[in-house]
């Protein structure tokens, strides 16, 4: 990280920087593979976890902003109050976030008397596993890797670069439903139980339309004759081609797919207007009614982690991932800025662009939550099975025919 700050100061000494960066890379790639993997995984979790926690403060501030009130802006440790300009941090509620974190950690964590203890404690732990492990299959940036013969190859920044990318994400995230079911069942009380049953019904229902809605994207990506892939990196690559159709983001090409996917994403992450498992106004707190303190905050963080990963996948599929604008790729931008030869800077640029888009979608999630009223349970089921599912099947058939026609008659388009 020192080389990053160096660069900010010393724009003129780029050649020095290259040397120090390459030394750093050599040192890093000499480490054993397992150690690098563990290190990478730990770093990603160490970023994702606080980011998810910070989302809770963002939610409070944004809800306040939408409702025309200031939101949390009072908390400050007294021994810091003398620092000039610290009011900005105070008004942002960052100290409130720290205080919340402290509260959740140190507060008494009671286990109600009649619960099934083992599963009651297992449920919040289980909620963290899919939330934090799906990120392994999500690429969040790219950089040029110089090969032995001097050519450059765009390489994704990702923990596990598999061919099955998206399928693996769906597979792991589909396990998230168990924490809700178990929490509802183990609490041994009526409201959590209803929340758990609703959770399982809702999550299974919307998984279908979610999966079907993105199939057109992969029909488009996997041109005949190529090696079939579900990799998210390849999806971004096909949005970074030259030409009108090549550089187009898929949200313009397949708006209906994007819409269905986004709607199903709201349902899968239990966000309003689909928060059936929680239903604060009729089920107290839904599946987590009996939970408090740290265990409750684990559920909370898991929900935001799901949101972050879900928004990330939406950006990769439909918004060109780390490409700054439609028809403008990251590689072009890096060449323009003259940083294509410095993997560190190009990677940082990609990650920043990607996180910017993800951040917007986090905001979008909250915007919708504080704007739309909640659906009733039967409305959720009707929407899922009778509207979104037929719509996504029709969408799939339409694009299958359209892509076949395009390949047959306009192969050069």
């Amino acid at each position: 990280m020192t080389s990053v700050s160096e660069l900010c100061d010393l724009c003129g000494k780029i050649s020095d920087l290259r040397l120090s960066a390459s030394d750093m890379f050599d040192f890093y790639f000499d480490l054993p593979l397992w150690f690098r993997l563990v290190l990478q995984g730990t770093i990603v979790i160490l970023v994702l976890f606080p980011l998810a926690a910070a989302c809770s403060m963002a939610e409070r501030k944004i809800s306040a902003w939408i409702q025309g009130r200031p939101g949390p802006n009072r908390t400050i440790p007294p021994f810091l109050a003398w620092i000039p300009g610290i009011n900005i941090i105070r008004n942002l509620g960052l100290f409130q976030l720290a205080a919340d974190g402290g509260k959740f950690t140190f507060k008494e964590d009671p286990v109600p008397g009649n619960v099934n203890k083992f599963y009651f404690i297992l449920a919040p732990i289980l909620s963290m596993i899919p939330a934090l492990s799906t990120i392994a299959f999500v690429p969040f940036g790219a950089y040029f890797k110089t090969l032995a013969d001097g050519t450059r190859e765009l390489t994704p920044i990702i923990l596990a670069n598999t061919d099955l990318g998206l399928l693996a994400v769906f597979a792991v995230s589909s396990l998230g439903v168990y924490s809700l079911i178990l929490a509802g069942w183990a609490s041994n009380s009526k409201y959590p139980f209803l929340g758990g049953v609703r959770a399982s019904a809702q999550l299974i229902s919307y998984e279908l339309s979610m999966t079907l809605s993105i199939l057109p994207v992969f029909l488009w990506v996997n041109a005949p004759g190529g090696e079939g892939t579900l990799s998210l990196f390849n999806v971004v690559q096909t949005q970074s081609q030259p030409g009108f159709l090549g550089g187009m983001w898929y949200i313009f090409l397949m708006p209906l797919s994007a819409f269905i996917f986004l709607t199903a994403l709201f349902a899968e992450t239990n966000r309003q207007p689909f928060d059936m498992p929680e239903s604060e106004s009729d089920l107290v707190g839904g599946f987590h009614t009996e939970y408090g303190a740290f265990k409750w905050s684990l559920f909370f963080v898991a929900e935001y982690a799901h949101m972050i990963v879900g928004s990330g996948i939406f950006c990769l599929l439909f918004l060109g991932g780390w490409n700054p604008l439609p028809w403008v790729t990251l590689a072009d931008t890096a060449n323009l800025l003259g940083i294509a030869g410095i993997p560190l800077l190009m990677g940082l640029l990609g990650i920043t662009l990607f996180l910017g888009k993800v951040g917007f979608f986090i905001f979008f999630f909250m915007w919708v939550r504080w704007t739309l009223p909640r659906f009733r349970y039967d409305q959720v089921m009707n929407l899922g099975w009778k509207k979104l599912l037929p719509l996504s099947i029709a969408n799939l058939i339409f694009y299958a025919i359209a892509i076949a026609v395009k390949d047959l008659y306009f192969p050069n388009l």
């Binding site: 399928l167 769906f170 597979a171 396990l175 079911i181 069942w185 049953v197 299974i204």
Partner: protein, 171 residues
């Protein structure tokens, strides 16, 4: 490393499979099945069959067991107080154990699979493309038949479970 992992996963799979049968609590059984399926997915990964592993987790662990749990919770099964053994169940149990033992015995004594060299074996389970190509060429007919069977079963369930009282209901 992969040897250790193989033993770990197979131990997990077998132990959880036993747990499915031996647990008295239906929810605990379903969760054992979940861990068992995850163990099987791990074994698939060790065999480089990533697609099968992911599909096992996606379809079975992610959806089927969730449905099991949903039904168990919805019906609130308490286990009932039937006698654990009846005459019929003892006979059926003995017969099936006998059949299983005979099958295993013949498999061990006479079973022989010509195993070609590993390099000659096409890895259909690892690549998405190879798998999809087989589904749409060699196995097209079985896939279609299974699909129709499932559709018929689904329609059957709807017809049986829904009470039709008048002509209006059918519409």
């Amino acid at each position: 490393m992969s040897d250790i992992l193989f033993h770990l996963f197979s131990l997990l799979t077998v132990a959880c499979a036993l747990g499915v049968v031996l647990n008295k609590n239906a929810v605990a059984s379903a969760l054992c099945l979940l861990v068992c399926l995850t163990g099987i997915a791990g074994l698939f990964v060790l065999l480089d069959a990533f697609l099968l592993a992911v599909l096992t987790v996606f379809v079975y662990a992610g959806a089927v067991v969730a449905l099991f749990l949903f039904i168990i919770m919805l019906l609130d099964m308490q286990g009932g107080d039937r006698k654990p053994f009846t005459k019929a169940s003892i006979v059926a149990g003995a017969a099936s154990v006998g059949l299983l033992c005979t099958g295993l015995y013949t498999f061990i004594v006479r079973g022989h699979i010509d195993s070609p060299a590993l390099s000659d074996t096409p890895a259909h389970g690892s690549s998405l493309r190879a798998y999809a190509e087989l589904l749409f060429t060699t196995y097209l007919l079985p896939v279609q038949i299974v699909g129709f069977l499932l559709l018929i079963a689904m329609l059957g369930v709807i017809v049986i479970s829904k009470k039709f009282e008048g002509l209006e209901d059918i519409k």
